[in-house]
């Protein structure tokens, strides 16, 4: 992992989300499911973001503007610079026979990079609205649904599930696919084990998600 000041190449609208593309510098893109801490201009703490795509010479992040930090990131203009620190945490295990990607809402963020790394396996994605579903275009071979249909209705049996999405979705996926690899979220101040802020219950104990995860096996 490495912290470097990177310059913004472009900030593109994808439905209600923004795809933030920065020049890669000497930062390693890491493994799909790993994340980076991005300086959010004007904020004290950086914000955790999964790597969405790793086009040559770039790192790209898909961002949902839900609060001050993510709004600041979505407002960055070409040529502005931000500190980027990573890759952090543990990503997905990629040695699988029948991978199926499952994503909900902004939880699709790590799936484009994951799809490329796995040779574009099938994906099922769920969104809140047609506008949100515009982001499905980022994921190859994706079947897409919009509420009131839930993505869990699209998961066939016998697949090696890799999922990212809101917590209720992850619980539902876990019930269907007990060995699924799930990417969780928690509020994070540091992303590298320093603050103990990201504690979640893992195996009956409170552990740091940024150190043990964010990708955890369901079982």
């Amino acid at each position: 992992m490495r912290r470097e000041r990177l310059s913004v190449v472009a900030n593109e609208q994808v439905g209600p989300y923004t795809l933030l593309r920065v020049a890669r510098g000497a930062v390693d893109p890491g493994v799909p499911g790993q994340f980076f801490m991005l300086e959010a201009p004007g904020r004290l703490l950086p914000r955790p973001m999964s790597l969405c795509l790793a086009p040559s010479g770039e790192l790209a992040f898909l961002i949902d503007p839900i609060g001050p930090g993510t709004v600041a990131l979505c407002e960055l203009a070409q040529g502005e610079n931000i500190n980027v620190f990573g890759p952090l945490g543990n990503g997905f295990v990629l040695d699988l026979d029948r991978p199926l990607l499952v994503g909900g809402g902004i939880g699709i963020a790590p799936l484009p990079f994951l799809s490329e790394s796995l040779g574009r396996p099938p994906a099922v994605l769920g969104f809140r609205s047609d506008r949100h579903a515009e982001a499905a275009g980022l994921v190859p071979n994706a079947q897409c649904c919009v509420e009131p249909t839930f993505v869990t209705e699209l998961i066939p049996e016998g697949m090696d599930v890799l999922a990212c999405g809101p917590e209720p979705m992850l619980h539902a996926v876990r019930a269907l696919a007990p060995t699924a690899q799930l990417a969780w979220e928690a509020p994070m101040a540091c992303g590298y084990g320093a603050c103990y802020g990201c504690a979640v219950e893992i195996d009956g104990e409170l552990k740091r998600l940024c150190v043990e995860g964010p990708v955890l096996r369901a079982a």
Binding site: R3, A189, G193, C195
Partner: protein, 293 residues
């Protein structure tokens, strides 16, 4: 010396960051293991952050058998932060740390805002710990007490070798939408830039009251922030919240500190020690604690 603030760095997950400091301070260790408070445990505020970690730590047994041997391999002096719920807890842990040569100093956390402590006084805790160990003892005080000068003098009279100033002060953040607390336990400790003026005042007051060595901390983001703490009487400076956003802060702050000293024509930043207490350059305020409005 440049240190980390207790609870703001894990030397085992970030050994390179720990090695970039002059000493590594552990997260507060308590007699028994603690899981810590229920999430949510952190929240950003306007110019700071709140935390309600709740002293999550492995407990002294596991700390001694598992963590300390690994920390010793870092090759930097180790300061152990000690916490407890009654005086005996502190004394017991101090006596168990006493024969570990790899421990350079002990910081007595008598001021965590995230655990309800039946307030055994700081002086009692320092006295009991003094009998239990020959290691240097630093008493870490809260700035949220009415007479911090008295607490500092009492710690000195009880055998403390130095003071760590300051711990966080209690704060609350509401979710704008629901108007309910963001943090799981409700309230938490405020750290970061919001704490800096409070830290400067506490260091200035305790320096005047005791002339003891002080580790200054609270809202340090830059070398100039560190120099201000030194100017009011800190011998050493600790970095806390800044490490979350910038793991490279130790090297940066050190470089900025040297540069800030050089622009004043000083050979070293130590030349700035307690200069704020010298005759003021222009007629005006002094730092005497009684001069406040």
């Amino acid at each position: 010396m440049l240190l980390n603030a207790s609870g703001c760095l894990d030397g085992l997950t970030a050994p390179d960051v720990a090695r970039s400091l002059d000493a590594f301070v552990t997260k507060t260790v308590t007699p028994l293991p603690r899981d810590g408070n229920a999430p949510v445990r952190i929240a950003e505020t306007d110019v700071g952050m709140l935390n309600s970690i709740g002293l999550a730590n492995p407990g002294i047994d596991r700390f001694l058998t598992r963590n300390l041997p690994q920390l010793a391999e870092l090759g930097v002096p180790i300061w152990v932060s000690v916490g407890g719920f009654e005086t005996d807890d502190y004394a017991d842990i101090c006596s168990r740390l006493d024969d570990h040569a790899e421990v350079s100093a002990i910081e007595l956390n008598v001021s965590c805002p995230n655990v309800e402590t039946p307030a055994d006084s700081a002086a009692e805790i320092v006295s009991a710990s003094r009998l239990a160990t020959r290691k240097p003892l630093w008493a870490k005080l809260s700035p949220a007490v009415p007479g911090i000068a008295e607490v500092a003098r009492a710690a000195q009279a009880s055998g403390a070798d130095g003071l760590s100033l300051v711990n966080t002060i209690r704060g609350l953040k509401l979710d704008e939408r629901t108007l309910r607390p963001v943090l799981g336990p409700g309230q938490g400790g405020l750290s970061g830039p919001a704490l800096k003026p409070i830290a400067l005042a506490a260091v200035a007051t305790c320096y005047r009251a005791t002339q003891m060595p002080i580790v200054g901390m609270g809202g340090v983001q830059t070398g100039l922030d560190a120099l201000e703490l030194i100017a009011v009487g800190a011998r050493h400076v600790a970095l806390g919240t800044v490490l979350f956003a910038d793991p490279d802060a130790p090297a940066r702050v050190r470089a900025e500190l040297h540069a800030a000293a050089a622009t004043r024509g000083w050979n070293a930043y130590e030349d700035g020690y307690a200069v704020a207490h010298e005759e003021t350059l222009s007629a005006g305020a002094t730092l005497d604690e009684r001069s406040s409005v």
